[in-house]
């Protein structure tokens, strides 16, 4: 927009001085870290004239919902698919489970998202086109398509590694023991799954960074007012303090999530619990 061109250079310089933007980048960064450590504050956003922490915290719920729903969906899709494929190894079911995620593997999230919107929201009108709706059920309703989009991008990796792992475990001696002991298939699957989960969880922990990164694009496509869209506008506005704040919260999020994943692996495997 051209409005904005007429801002006087003195004003800009003045604002930059006020916000410390006339300093070199590294100086800005160290002072950011210093204030962060000493006061827990992440500074003021240039574009929004508001506390960056307040901005991020305000957007956080939507992103957390999105990440949470996608994480759940990833598991809910991957586990049964991988299990089914492994149990039917070599059959057409297996091929199907292996090939279909391969197709989505090459589809960028924004494109899948767009197609979903056109299909399920615009044409079939099953889900909302975008944005969020109030209440828990409204949230779940609005998260359906976005989280499915993210989940689809993540599942191929998880399904493939999980399937391989389940196959390995299915061939393990202890499964034969349990079979020989006459345990029902359901109970055996539980044992197999628990033993297959570890590497998948580790991969999941690694992918979580991509998952959180993926929210940026998906929030954009679905018009969700989360941290991702905030970041996007912060980038286009060169709102450096805000970018720093978001990066920090993202890193915090990733650390928390990978800690949770580590705790989860600990629950699954006592060897992790005991520090191996």
């Amino acid at each position: 927009m051209v409005l904005g061109l007429k801002a006087r250079p003195e004003q800009i310089a003045d604002m930059h001085r006020r916000l410390g933007l006339d300093q070199p980048l590294w100086r800005q960064f160290t002072s950011f870290i210093l204030t962060l450590v000493t006061t827990g504050d992440t500074g003021e956003s240039i574009a929004y004239h508001a506390s960056s922490r307040a901005l991020v915290l305000d957007r956080l719920p939507v992103s957390l919902w999105l990440v949470g729903c996608s994480a759940v969906l990833v598991v809910a899709i991957s586990l049964p698919l991988a299990m089914t494929a492994a149990l039917h190894k070599g059959t057409w079911i297996d091929q199907l489970v292996r090939v279909v995620p391969t197709i989505t593997l090459g589809m960028p999230e924004f494109w899948v998202g767009l197609v979903f919107v056109l299909l399920f929201a615009v044409t079939l009108k099953i889900f909302p086109v975008g944005g969020t709706q109030p209440g828990i059920d409204g949230m779940l309703y609005s998260m359906a398509l976005p989280s499915l989009t993210i989940a689809l991008a993540q599942t191929p990796f998880i399904v493939r590694s999980l399937r391989t792992r389940i196959l390995d475990v299915l061939g393990a001696d202890f499964v034969t023991t349990l079979r020989a002991a006459g345990l029902p298939e359901r109970a055996i699957r539980r044992h197999v799954l628990r033993n297959s989960l570890m590497p998948a969880l580790e991969l999941y922990g690694m992918k979580i960074s991509f998952l959180i990164g993926g929210t940026l694009v998906v929030e954009q496509v679905f018009g969700l007012r989360g941290v991702g869209t905030l970041l996007f506008s912060a980038i286009t506005a060169r709102d450096f303090p805000l970018i720093q704040a978001i990066a920090m919260y993202c890193a915090l999020g990733v650390v928390i999530v990978s800690t949770l994943v580590r705790i989860a692996t600990g629950l699954v495997d006592y060897r992790v619990r005991e520090g191996r």
């Binding site: 001696d173 202890f174 034969t176 023991t177 006459g182 345990l183 628990r194 495997d269």
Partner: protein
């Protein structure tokens, strides 16, 4: 021995590789009578394990039984349980050993109590009821301790990785016993263990056989072990049974060429000069032989 008393009857069993139809087990037939202990010995790759697995109905991937009727039980299907070679690998590494034994116990009790539990609600209640879980855990711990595992298992469960090989093999035996089997199939259950532990396990199996009247089918490549435990031997070579008969007879007077070579290859351990020169006496002193000599 009447035919009805045979718990296992294998008739002309053929196992082939799925890929190329190569015969792996090529027309094996034998019976095992109730209460009998039969050993299968033979060269590596002769089809011993496959025969056992065929009886168990657990064929590994890549092979199949040509005629499934070959291993049909002659009378009512006996309960089978199996002990495997590698004691540690044959237990779920992420599941406590008491829990594993208890799970198998619960599963077989459900099966036993028949009609009353066929209702799904009953089954569910049984599966999730904490009291039933506690009870089965207690009995699992009892069983494990009676097999010589540490008392502390009552208080806290341990994972297979936290037990020694010999202890794991006992857990494997406990799992097999939790099935309350009529027939115990053992696939080289002691080769991975060192001699002292090996002897303990063999003693344990002999004792259980005496106490529970188990029928046993025992695969090994160690003729010594076979002689120690089995009434009768089946010698396999290249997918065929080459010789069968009472243990003592086969060892003393092998008929088949391969059996002869097998026995010939045994490395002897020089006899204890102080021992009484009779095999029978040796057997009676059994496991306490060492202690008897302690005073020296």
């Amino acid at each position: 021995m009447s035919g009805d008393d045979n718990l296992i009857a294998v008739r002309d069993l053929h196992v082939v590789a799925t890929a190329d139809g190569r015969p792996l087990v090529d027309g094996v037939s034998f019976d095992v009578a109730r209460g009998e202990a039969v050993g299968i010995v033979g060269e590596s790759g002769s089809g011993k394990s496959l025969t056992l697995r065929a009886i168990m109905g657990l064929m590994p991937e890549g092979v199949r039984i040509a005629d499934p009727a070959a291993v049909a039980a002659p009378s009512a299907r006996p309960r089978l349980a199996m002990i495997f070679q590698d004691p540690v690998a044959s237990l779920d590494p992420l599941c406590g050993v008491v829990a594993q034994v208890a799970e198998v116990m619960r599963c077989h009790e459900q099966g036993d109590s028949g009609h009353a539990d066929s209702a799904p609600i009953g089954r569910l209640a049984r599966r999730f009821s904490p009291s039933i879980r506690r009870e089965s855990r207690r009995r699992a711990a009892d069983l494990l301790i009676s097999l010589g595992l540490p008392e502390s298992l009552r208080e806290h469960d341990r994972y297979p990785g936290q037990l020694s090989g010999g202890q794991c093999q006992r857990v494997g035996i406990a799992i097999a016993l939790a099935v309350r089997p009529d027939v115990l199939l053992c696939d080289e259950p002691t080769t991975a263990l060192d001699v002292t532990v090996q002897r303990q396990i063999l003693d344990l199996l002999a004792r259980l056989r005496g106490e529970l009247g188990l029928t046993m089918l025992f695969v090994t490549h160690n003729l010594g072990v076979a002689a120690h435990l089995c009434d009768r031997l089946i010698v396999m070579h290249d997918g065929h049974v080459v010789e069968t008969g009472p243990t003592a007879r086969i060892l003393a007077d092998p008929q088949d060429d391969y059996t002869k070579r097998l026995i010939d290859a045994i490395l002897p351990i020089p006899a204890d000069p102080s021992a009484k020169p009779t095999g029978a006496a040796e057997e009676e002193t059994g496991s306490t032989a060492g202690k008897g000599k302690e005073p020296r």
